[in-house]
Structures are given as C-alpha cells and as structure tokens.
C-alpha cells in the first residue's frame, strides 16, 4: 500500500477560475504594498545600524526594570523583548535589547556597550551577555543596497536562463511569479513585524530559487506536451501538464515542508524568522507556479508553430547517460 497525496490521474481544471485567482493575488499584492507602506519592515541592525544585545539570566525577567536602567543612559530608542523558545531550559530567561544607531557616530562605540552592560549587571547580578552585535550606519546602508542588488540580480539571471532554455513567454511568466512571491513575503514580514535582517535576504533568495524550481518543472512538462498535443488548445495542454506534475509538486513541497517544520519547532529562536520565511515562500511558491506562472503563460500565449521541429526540444540533456 502506498501513501498517495493525491489520487492518480487527476483532471482538475486549474484555469476555470483563473481570473478569480489572479484577482486574489492582486488584492494580496496590494495589501502587502499597503502594509509595507504603512507599517514598514522591522529592520534588524544589519540594515539600519544600532546594537542588539542578547542577555540570559536565571532569574525571572522584569522588562520594566531593564528599561528603567537603560533609560537613564539616554540612548534614544530602545526596544526590549523577552524571547521564549521550547528549546530553553526552565530557568533560562532570554531577552533581546535593541538600541538604535547613535547619531553623530560613524563607528561602533565600545563605551556605549560597556555602559549598557554595567547598567544591566547592576540590577541583575547573574546576567550574561551571550551575544552583542553592533553595526555602524555606514555599513548598514551598504548592506541594504547589496541585498536589493542581490535579489534583483537573482531574478534577472533567472529571467535570462529561462528565456534561453524555453521561450520568452515562459520567462515572463516565471519572473512575474517570482516577483509575486517576493512581494508577498515582504508583505508578511511587514504585517507580522518579524525582524528583517541579512538572513531573511538569504531566505528570500532561496524562495526565488525554490519557486522557480517548481515553475520550471511545470514548464518543462508544458514544453513537452506542447509538442505532444500539437492541436489541442493551450489551456488544455497547460491543464494536462499541471495535473501530470501535481503529484510531484505536492510530494516535494511536503518533504521540504516536513524538514522546515522540524527546524522551526526545534531549531531554536535564532533562525526562526529565517525558517518562517522559507516555509511561507514554499507555500506561496507552489501556489504561484500554478496559478500565476502558468496563468500568465495562458494569458500571453505561446508560439505553437514549431518551424524547426525537435531541434530545440529541450531534452538535449537526455543523451547524458549514467
């Protein structure tokens, strides 16, 4: 007996309501943009400079007293939050303190960190500073620019690759799906105010890679079926292709999600935001490769007139034999 995620030979019509799905995606994108505009991203110090200090103590955490001790130092905007995680011991109380970048200072000041540590040690004797990170405003500006460049470059490179391997219509579909995924991910981060730092950029790029992976598998089948069913309407060919690959799409998404759920539950709080971004990206990426990428393909149409039959068949790797 085999575990089957979906029955064999599905014949779901994915494009029956494609305008509805498109509409939903458009609304979500607008919502993401509004959230980004109104709330903005909760940038970590990587992107806006400042200092974060992670403290640990065995006594109960009293955020108010922390705040009081630090307010005396006049450091501007300070956020203090307690961190909870199932992997912590019972008497492990962790707090994250974030101090804004001090104006008029290009570099990181050692005295500042020392004064914060002294102030906290005075009220909580057994406090430990398990990590202290400071980024000067000069670097953070560069980091955010590099990050934007990286994402843009990745999308551009992918556009070119898909264009070379398929047709330009496929590339357009794939890239619109990617942009859709990236925008929705950023929207979720701004709406939930999850810390947005360098690791999240890595996650974003992985989402780009993963979503593309999915899209390419569907497209590969579309390309094959376009040749196989020369006279059927495009919509039907797309539907056949998506149905044929549906079982694989679900299997892969599920195994990857299984691994990621293990990581989000047990991997500790340090990478939780990162793993969350990936889980979200895989869900959105799977959705978008069917409902966005393929739908775009249907919308702009594909050149069906293969004047050079079998020359550009895409299976050029098939001769490689193990």
């Amino acid at each position: 007996m085999r575990l089957k995620l979906i029955p064999e030979d599905t014949k779901i019509d994915f494009f029956q309501r494609w305008k509805l799905w498109f509409g939903i995606s458009m609304v979500l994108i607008v919502l993401a943009a509004v959230s980004f505009g109104v709330r903005g991203l909760n940038y970590g110090i990587d992107f806006r400079g400042g200092t974060t200090i992670r403290t640990e103590s065995s006594t109960d955490l009293d955020i108010a007293s922390y705040r009081e001790a630090l307010n005396a130092l006049n450091l501007g905007d300070i956020t203090i939050s307690e961190v909870f995680d199932p992997t912590f011991d019972a008497d492990q109380h962790v707090a994250m303190i974030r101090i804004q970048a001090q104006d008029d200072q290009e570099a990181v000041s050692a005295e500042l960190i020392q004064s914060v540590e002294d102030a906290l040690s005075a009220i909580v004797p057994d406090i430990e500073f398990v990590s202290v990170e400071s980024v000067g405003p000069k670097v953070s500006g560069e980091l955010i620019w590099t990050a934007v460049q990286a994402v843009a470059l990745a999308i551009g490179a992918v556009l070119i690759y898909v264009w070379l391997r398929f047709e330009w219509q496929f590339a357009v579909g794939a890239v619109i799906a990617l942009i859709h995924d990236v925008i929705l991910t950023i929207g979720v981060f701004s709406e939930l105010q999850i810390k947005f730092d360098l690791a999240i950029i890595a996650a974003l790029l992985t989402i780009v890679g993963y979503s593309l992976n999915d899209t390419v598998v569907v497209f590969d089948r579309v390309r094959e079926n376009l040749r196989k069913y020369k006279n059927r309407p495009l919509k039907e060919v797309l539907n056949i292709s998506i149905n044929e690959t549906l079982s694989r799409t679900m299997m892969t998404s599920l195994t990857t999600l299984l691994a990621l759920f293990a990581l989000i539950a047990l991997g500790g709080d340090v990478i939780r935001g990162f793993v969350f971004a990936m889980i979200w990206g895989i869900v959105v990426g799977t959705y978008s490769s069917i409902f966005i990428a393929a739908a775009i393909l249907l919308y702009i149409g594909v050149k069906r007139d293969w004047t050079k039959p079998d020359n550009n068949t895409g299976n050029q790797y098939a001769n490689i034999d193990a």
Binding site: L3, S134, R165, A199, L205, L212, T256, A262, A318
Partner: protein
C-alpha cells in the same frame, strides 16, 4: 536496456567511498580537533608528552580536515574595521618637511628664509621669505620628488608641489595616495595578523574587504572589545629633537612643534619637533633587558637607514636632549652624551619587568600605520553557539527521519533506494565542506536541511515519471529507463536555476549568508549526483539480480 558500464559503477562507488572517508573526521569532531591542535603545537614548540598524547587521539594516516564552525556556532568575535588611510598622508608630509627645509637652505639667497605655516593635515604649507624666488624654490623642491609608475599618468611624481605668492603647497599626488592606501591597508592587515597570532587563537579569519576595510573574525575569544584591545594597542615609537621642557601643558608650540606629557614624571611637559629623527618603523628588534643598575629596560636595534640617521643625528647634536616618545608620551629625554653609531640603544624608564616585556613585544610587532575605526562588531557567546549546534542537530535529525519515513511510505522499495542516496548525499556534502575548509554557520545548517528536503525532489521527479511510463511502456526496464531519461531535463533546469541563486548569494553575501550559499550550492551538486547516478545504480543492481516482471513504484 538498463545497463551501466563497469568503470562508471566503480567511479560512482569510489566517489561515495571517498565521501565516507573524508566526512568521517566530523563524526569525531573534538578528538580530531585536539589532534590537529597538537600537531600544530608540536611544529611550533616541539614535542612533549601531553602534546603527543593529544596527537595520538586520532591516527595520523586518517584524514584530518574538518568543517569549520562559524562564529555563530562556536562563539567568538567579529570586527569590521576601516583603516583611516588618509592619516598616513600627514605622516608622509611630516617626513618630507625636513628634507624640503634642508634642500632650500643653500638657496637662501634667492629664496629667503623658509617657515612652515599651519595647514590642513593633507597639505604641507611653507612660506618663503622672498616671493620672487618661488620659481627657483619650486624647481629645487620638485627635484626632491620621485617619479612613480602608475597606469593613469606617465611621469607623475609622488608629491605635487605648487606655489602661490609666497606660499608653497605640497600634497601627495593622487596616484601616490592610491598606492599609499594600498600599502597602508596591507601593512595594517599584516600587523593585525601578527598580533592575533601572538595571542594564539585557533583559525582566525583576517581578510581585506574592499579598498580600505579589514574583516577580522576570531573564534573562541571572549568579546569584541577584547579583540579590539589586542589589535588596537598601538605602540608608535619615535625619537624627536627636544626644543624645551616645562610644566605648562598649553605651552606655545610653533609650527612643526608639539607639546607632549612625560610618561612617568607628573606635570612635566616637553615641547618637541613633530618630525621624528627616526621612528619605530625602522626598528628591527626589541628585547626586554636590564640597564646597568639592574632596572628593567628595553634594548632595541635599528635597520641600516635608521642606524645611519640616528648616528648622524647624535653626532651633530652632542649635548642636546632628545625625546623617546611612545604613543605621544615621552618615556625619557636623555641628553646625547656621545655619537651613537651602530644603531642600537636602550630605553630606560620606570618600568616593571612585565611592562618592559610588553613594550618590547609591542615595538617588535610594529605600530599600526593608521588608526582603525570599527564599523561593525559582533560577539557571540560560546553557550549560544552550543545551543544553536544542539538545536540544529536535533532539528536536522528529525527532519531527516521524517523525510526518510515519508519516502518509504510513498515509494516503497524505491523509497529505500532514494533514502540510501539521501544519506550518501549528506555524507558527500560534509566531505566536500571539510575538504574545502568551508565554514558551517547556522543558516548553513538550514541550508543542509533544505538540501534534505530538496534532494528528494530529483528522485520524486524520476519516480513519478517511472510511474507514468509504467502505464504505457513495454515492461518495467523500459519504464525505468524512460523515467530517468525524461525526468532529466526537468531536474537539470530546476537545479541549475537554484544553483544560480546560490552563486549570487555567495558573491554578494557575507558571513552567515555566504555559509548558507555554500551549503546550498554544494548540496545541489551532491543531490544531483546522488539522484542521477547513485539511485540509478542501486535500481539497476537490484533489477539485474531480481529481474522482476512487474514493479511497483
């Protein structure tokens, strides 16, 4: 038909075996690490029983390459420093002033008296007594400049000299500034490396980044401020002519002069010339020692140019005091008793033995050529790193088991083949990371977990394809063959696109992000290898032995 050449089979198994062998040291991480440290220590300090015992923990014939653990896993400090390269310009101009003055002295008749006037640090301004002599003065000073080779300008010189009215302005030429910047950063890098090596920590990373930045990562160190102390202690030793001494810190210092305090005489100040006779850069050696009275002191020796300058100066200035200045404090200001040839001398002061030892070390390591400002600093405590490793291990194990079970449930026997390939995939990935000396970071672990999830993708693609082909093809062998053949283009396209993003991450990213890119990129390569070659070989071997009439995937 299903057939794989013998040499291909052998090659595939050899790769897997090599993967196992080179991944093995990571399973005994602490042991191998102790062994490696011991080997390194024996090379430096020679053998002793403790070290030999530590070395014996791991056989010497076995591979010893380990995956490096990143700062976020091991704990340690990270600094991004910017070298203030422009500071060197001022020092250079300071050094140019005496030779300019000396060169114009014989020309006093046409040029008139030469006086230095206050100027911004990147310029040297000189007023000459007779403005009509400016042309001649410029000619003489330009004769002092050296031609330099650069791509941009043929015939450019190291200093640019211009005159306006009675003021002559000397600056460093642009090409020389660039060359100087490069030298300064390299020198700073070297000095930082020596200072960190002197402390003896394991595998520090000291890298140049961009034009004027240096990235310093030291695992296992307590905090970033500790690291800053190690690299930040400057010891700039100079020997300057003394103009006067007194008790007034605000004494009126003329151009080219400055007032510095005495190190151990409270309230004592010296007015000295800013241009040193010799500086610590020209020291070749410094050793802690004792003076005739048995007090701790430091012996030093200059290189040949330093020795000549020092010898000439002492010859011409017998009876005059000169100051030994360390980091803008006068250690002592002895009167020159006699000509000191040979370029060696002794610094005495009120040192303790420890202080004299430290001073000698600092002098030997050399001074940083320019100040560092720190743009980024991170300290990660070792406990946090250990917590992350533990959490990462558990999460990876759970993810792994979940995927293995899921694959068997979905594909039965073929799922087991895929699982063997998956395990080999992780093993080969670790072997590759170890051989490359790559650094594993927390996002890197996430990359491995993601690889686990995605590595099955290739197999899923193939198995699903075989299922489809079973419905139409003639017999199982043909279905398997077609399944591999037709799934290949999807597998390659899918993995190449992900690989492209991994490469971009690697190029643009830094630190932890780069660690993630490495594991993701390598993971893609190993997973394609295991999916296309290893599972296929397993299936073919099984098929040859059993010759089943029907198969269920």
């Amino acid at each position: 038909m299903l057939y794989i050449d013998l040499w291909k089979r052998v090659l595939i198994w050899l790769v897997c075996a090599a993967g196992l062998i080179f991944a093995l040291p990571n399973a005994f991480y602490t042991r191998v690490e102790t062994h490696n440290d011991a080997v390194a220590a024996i090379e430096v300090r020679g053998e002793n029983p403790d070290l030999l015992a530590a070395e014996a923990q791991w056989p010497s014939w076995a591979p010893t390459d380990l995956v490096n653990l990143g700062l976020d896993l091991r704990g340690g400090a990270h600094l991004l420093a910017e070298v203030q390269v422009a500071e060197v310009y001022a020092t250079r101009l300071e050094g140019f002033w005496p030779s300019l003055r000396d060169a114009l002295r014989p020309e006093r008749d046409t040029v008139g008296g030469v006086r230095r006037v206050p100027s911004p640090p990147e310029e040297l301004r000189v007023r000459i007594g007779n403005p009509d002599g400016m042309a001649r003065a410029l000619e003489v000073v330009r004769g002092l400049t050296q031609p330099i080779q650069s791509l941009s300008g043929v015939g450019s010189t190291d200093y640019v000299v211009s005159g306006q009215g009675d003021i002559m302005v000397v600056t460093l030429s642009e090409a020389e500034q660039r060359a100087s910047d490069d030298r300064t950063v390299r020198q700073a890098l070297e000095i930082i490396r020596r200072r960190i090596d002197a402390v003896g920590t394991r595998e520090p990373t000291i890298q140049r980044q961009g034009a004027d930045r240096i990235l310093i990562q030291v695992p296992g160190i307590g905090s970033a401020s500790e690291l800053k102390e190690i690299i930040g202690t400057t010891a700039r030793l100079t020997f300057n002519p003394v103009i006067s001494r007194g008790g007034d810190p605000d004494a009126n210092a003329g151009p080219g002069e400055m007032v510095v305090p005495s190190l151990d005489e409270e309230g004592q100040y010296y007015t000295i010339e800013t241009a040193p006779v010799v500086s610590g850069d020209e020291l070749v050696d410094a050793q802690p020692s004792f003076d005739q009275n048995g007090r701790p002191a430091v012996n030093f020796r200059f290189n040949t140019t330093g020795a000549r300058k020092f010898g000439d100066y002492t010859l011409e200035n017998i009876g005059q005091p000169f100051a030994i200045v360390l980091d803008d404090e006068v250690i002592s200001a002895p009167v020159i008793q006699s000509h000191i040839p040979g370029g060696s001398g002794i610094i005495t002061g009120r040192f303790t033995v420890e202080e004299s030892t430290n001073l000698a070390v600092l002098l030997r390591a050399g001074a940083l050529p320019a100040e560092l400002t720190f743009l980024e600093e991170r300290t990660i405590g070792p406990e946090l790193g250990q917590d992350s490793i533990d959490a990462g291990k558990i999460a990876t194990a759970v993810a792994f088991v979940a995927v293995l079970v899921f694959m068997v449930l979905s594909y039965g026997l073929f799922g087991i083949f895929a699982n063997i390939a998956l395990i080999l995939n992780i093993v080969i990935l670790f072997a590759a990371l170890s051989l490359m000396g790559a650094t594993l970071t927390l996002p890197g672990i996430a990359g491995i977990v993601l690889t686990v999830g995605m590595a099955v993708d290739a197999n899923v693609l193939i198995f699903e394809r075989i299922r489809e082909e079973l419905k139409t093809a003639r017999g199982p062998a043909r279905a398997i063959e077609l399944g591999y053949e037709k799934a290949l283009s999807a597998i390659l396209d899918a993995n190449i696109t992900t690989f492209i993003t991994a490469v971009i991450l690697f190029v643009m990213g830094s630190g932890p992000v780069r660690g993630f890119a490495i594991t993701l990129g390598l993971g893609i390569m190993t997973s394609v290898f295991t999916a296309i070659f290893v599972t296929r070989l397993l299936i073919v071997m099984w098929f040859e032995r059993r010759r089943p009439k029907t198969i269920e995937v």
